[in-house]
């Protein structure tokens, strides 16, 4: 795959011409029987896949209003058609959000609507064939569930929801993706996506304590499984060993240290990521979220804080209260949720993002920074898609944009924005989200990164930007790999708490 090169930047960001079939293919590696079966899916494509797929579609239509309404409401206006980074980067018309939806909608129309049953040609309805099933597998794994299209649709049609439904149908007939399903298995078996067992984790953390001691002279702790700690930190497992993720983990630990907060990690719930969302499977989503509930109950913590991770923050912010009761405001006689909510301290947001936690301390003047420590950087901020359009922070809508930027400006002197139509709620996905991160999808990853790389290049040329901060483990992993292909240094990407870590003064307050 080393022959994959970056597509050319567009001179002016015009809407690209169509290149039908540009990204046709077999899709990502498929999961083995063992991986699928571990999640309760058929091991491989079942013989009666046709009937089962249609039955599953019917089931989802009755369980999810979003899916049902979105199947019906699209008027083919095309407002979303040029909004997807994968379409912009590949020019494959099937990567236009509406066309991606239509891969599924055409089958919906054939089996679930009267006009589709009577006049399939007229309304673009299609019988489900093996070719269509393969097409689903290929193109629904070229969507990162980033929701950019939903922002522009007059009916709020969210292709991410359609993609989740399609993947759910595929899994139900034994046509799973290796990357996601393998990782889901690891999280159940071992506790995190990387498959880092407890003892290895403890080792890593001890090593980190020594490193930080050497670098700063302070005994910054990385506690794990400490009963009675105030804060339980749930962070993506990439933070424990991947570069540049680990620098943000050090940043969190320094913030906890400087503010005198007692905190702990959990070896059982050593993962913030929840890939159950990627495949749209409620049971998986729920099962993975429940680990955090169990850890919180066992450790008796008062607050739950989530590290830098995009889709994880969406799941935590938007879904945890529903899935596992991590949140506030449950009904008195909702025993399941109350069991946990009685224990949590509701003067604080539950769950809280690490950026909310840090910003709160900064606002209360509880942290000291030497901003000049970040002077070698001219910094910009890449909003991660699932934080931007699937979650929030603080009390006001849009807090998810302000709070990380406020932190950066509090710890560094040089900050520059990328163009407005590529940031905040209009941000472009990094190109590797939602299950599109494995190396077998490198081509789509490189091409999908085009819109972000174009504007990064622009601010690099105009303002000398040399650091793009972000708060997502997948963004960090994706850009580390993609940046060199576009001619940047891989170290241009890093976490917000990496900057915090550089500037924070320990032992000051």
């Amino acid at each position: 795959m080393s022959d994959i090169t970056a597509p050319a930047y567009r001179a002016i960001p015009i809407i690209p011409a169509l290149k039908p079939g540009a990204m046709e293919g077999k899709g990502p590696f498929i999961a083995t029987d063992k991986m699928n079966e571990a999640l309760g899916f058929p091991g491989h494509l079942v013989d009666d896949w046709h009937d089962r797929a249609i039955a599953k579609m019917g089931e989802l239509l009755s369980k999810y209003r979003s899916f049902k309404v979105f199947m019906d409401a699209c008027v083919h206006c095309g407002a979303c058609s040029d909004k997807c980074h994968y379409f912009i980067g590949t020019q494959d018309p099937k990567n236009m959000p509406v066309a991606r939806q239509d891969l599924l909608r055409s089958v919906y129309r054939r089996y679930f609507t009267l006009p589709g049953k009577l006049f399939p040609k007229l309304v673009g309805a299609r019988d489900l064939t093996r070719e269509i099933l393969d097409e689903w597998y290929n193109y629904f794994y070229q969507c990162s569930e980033c929701r950019r299209c939903s922002l522009f649709c007059p009916y709020g049609i969210d292709t991410a929801e359609i993609t989740m439904a399609a993947r759910e149908i595929l899994d139900s007939v034994g046509y799973g993706q290796k990357y996601t399903n393998e990782i889901l298995g690891k999280v159940h078996r071992i506790g995190n996506n990387l498959g880092l067992p407890g003892p290895a984790l403890i080792d890593t953390l001890e090593g980190l304590e020594e490193d930080v001691k050497d670098a700063t002279g302070f005994d910054v702790r990385f506690p794990i499984d400490v009963k009675g700690a105030e804060v339980l930190l749930i962070t993506p497992s990439a933070d424990f060993f991947a570069e540049p993720h680990i620098d943000s983990l050090i940043g969190y630990a320094k913030v906890f240290h400087a503010s005198g907060t007692s905190w702990t990690l959990s070896s059982m719930a050593s993962e913030a990521g929840n890939f159950g969302m990627f495949i749209g499977n409620y049971e998986q989503l729920r099962k993975i979220a429940l680990r955090i509930r169990v850890a919180a109950l066992e450790l008796g913590v008062k607050r739950i804080v989530v590290g830098e991770c995009g889709h994880a923050w969406r799941v935590a912010y938007s879904f945890w209260n529903t899935l596992s009761g991590v949140g506030s405001g449950a009904n008195e006689n909702d025993h399941f949720a109350m069991m946990l909510q009685k224990q949590l301290d509701h003067r604080y947001k539950q769950p809280a993002h690490i950026c909310e936690f840090t910003w709160d301390l900064i606002e209360r003047n509880a942290l000291t920074f030497d901003k000049s420590a970040n002077d070698k950087y001219i910094i910009t901020f890449h909003d991660s898609c699932n934080v931007a359009r699937g979650a929030s922070m603080g009390d006001l809508p849009g807090g998810q944009f302000e709070i990380p930027r406020n932190i950066i400006k509090a710890v560094a002197n040089n900050y520059v924005e990328m163009p407005l139509n590529t940031i905040r709620e209009q941000t472009f996905c990094c190109g590797g989200g939602g299950g599109v991160l494995p190396d077998d999808l490198l081509e789509i990853r490189v091409k999908g990164a085009l819109p972000r790389m174009e504007v990064l290049q622009q601010v690099a040329d105009e303002h000398g930007v040399n650091f793009m901060a972000t708060i997502c483990a997948i963004c960090k992993a994706q850009f580390t790999k993609i940046l060199p292909i576009y001619g940047f240094d891989r170290k241009v990407v890093g976490g917000v708490h990496q900057l915090v870590s550089n500037a924070i003064q320990l032992g000051q307050k």
Binding site: G156, S318, G327, G390
Partner: protein, 242 residues
């Protein structure tokens, strides 16, 4: 004879529209929403959601953000259509309500702007590559049908006048289940037939975007997932074993 056929067709079309739409709405309302999925930033209060929905329905806010061409043409078409429909109330009320009289002059020209908007939308469907790619034959037909309705209506207004007084009497009669004579005017017949086809296809087609938008969870949900526990009945059942 034509009067009776049209009467039967009209009752049938209206019934189908009403029953079909109510059934759809019932299905949407009954289908659970297991997760909080507003497209953020989203309002945190019910009042905020009502405002967001109003901006969406009245001003096509998202479309405006997306593409000024589609926005302009859709706004022109839908705005004109609203005026035209309001103007048509005069054929179903006696005496005509004051405000309907007031908008009469605008309503007449709205027919023209409606046609303009429709033609613009069709032009895009044919000549913009991306939109041509996603269009199905029914998308073209739907526009053609609307163009036909607008054009036949305008013809009657500005070119070959029809006996509107009798048309009005006929419809007021229909509303009282009393079938009078409909003027035998081919343009009028065409106009009415096309309107009836529209009523019939409404609950089975993409015209469902009209009720659909109100049920779209990404637009009608409050952003309060951390403050209030939201759970669907089928999901709550999974907790029984916990």
């Amino acid at each position: 004879m034509a009067s009776i056929v049209f009467a039967i067709l009209f009752y049938f079309a209206t019934l189908l529209l009403v029953v079909g739409l109510l059934y759809r709405i019932y299905i949407y309302a009954r289908t659970p929403v297991p997760l909080k999925i507003p497209t953020t930033p989203a309002p945190t209060t019910t009042g905020g959601v009502v405002l967001r929905m109003m901006r969406e329905v009245v001003f096509f806010e998202s479309l405006f953000k997306s593409n000024l061409w589609i926005w302009g043409l859709s706004a022109l078409f839908h705005g004109s259509l609203a005026l035209v429909l309001m103007r048509h109330l005069r054929y179903f009320t006696d005496p005509v309500w004051g405000w309907v009289d007031l908008i009469q002059p605008f309503g007449m020209y709205a027919g023209l702007t409606m046609l303009l908007g429709l033609c613009g939308l069709w032009w895009r469907r044919i000549f913009v590559e991306r939109i041509r790619y996603i269009s199905t034959p029914s998308d073209h037909l739907m526009l053609l049908l609307l163009i036909g309705i607008a054009a036949s209506g305008l013809m009657m207004k500005f070119v070959v006048h029809t006996d509107v007084i009798s048309v009005k009497e006929y419809f007021i009669g229909l509303m009282q289940f009393n079938i009078l004579t409909l003027p035998a005017d081919p343009l009028l017949f065409m106009h009415l037939l096309m309107v009836m086809s529209l009523l019939v296809v409404f609950p089975f087609s993409k015209l469902l975007h009209a009720p659909g938008v109100f049920f779209s969870p990404t637009r009608n949900q409050k952003d309060d997932s951390r403050e209030k526990r939201h759970i669907a009945a089928w999901a709550k059942k999974l907790e029984a074993s916990e």
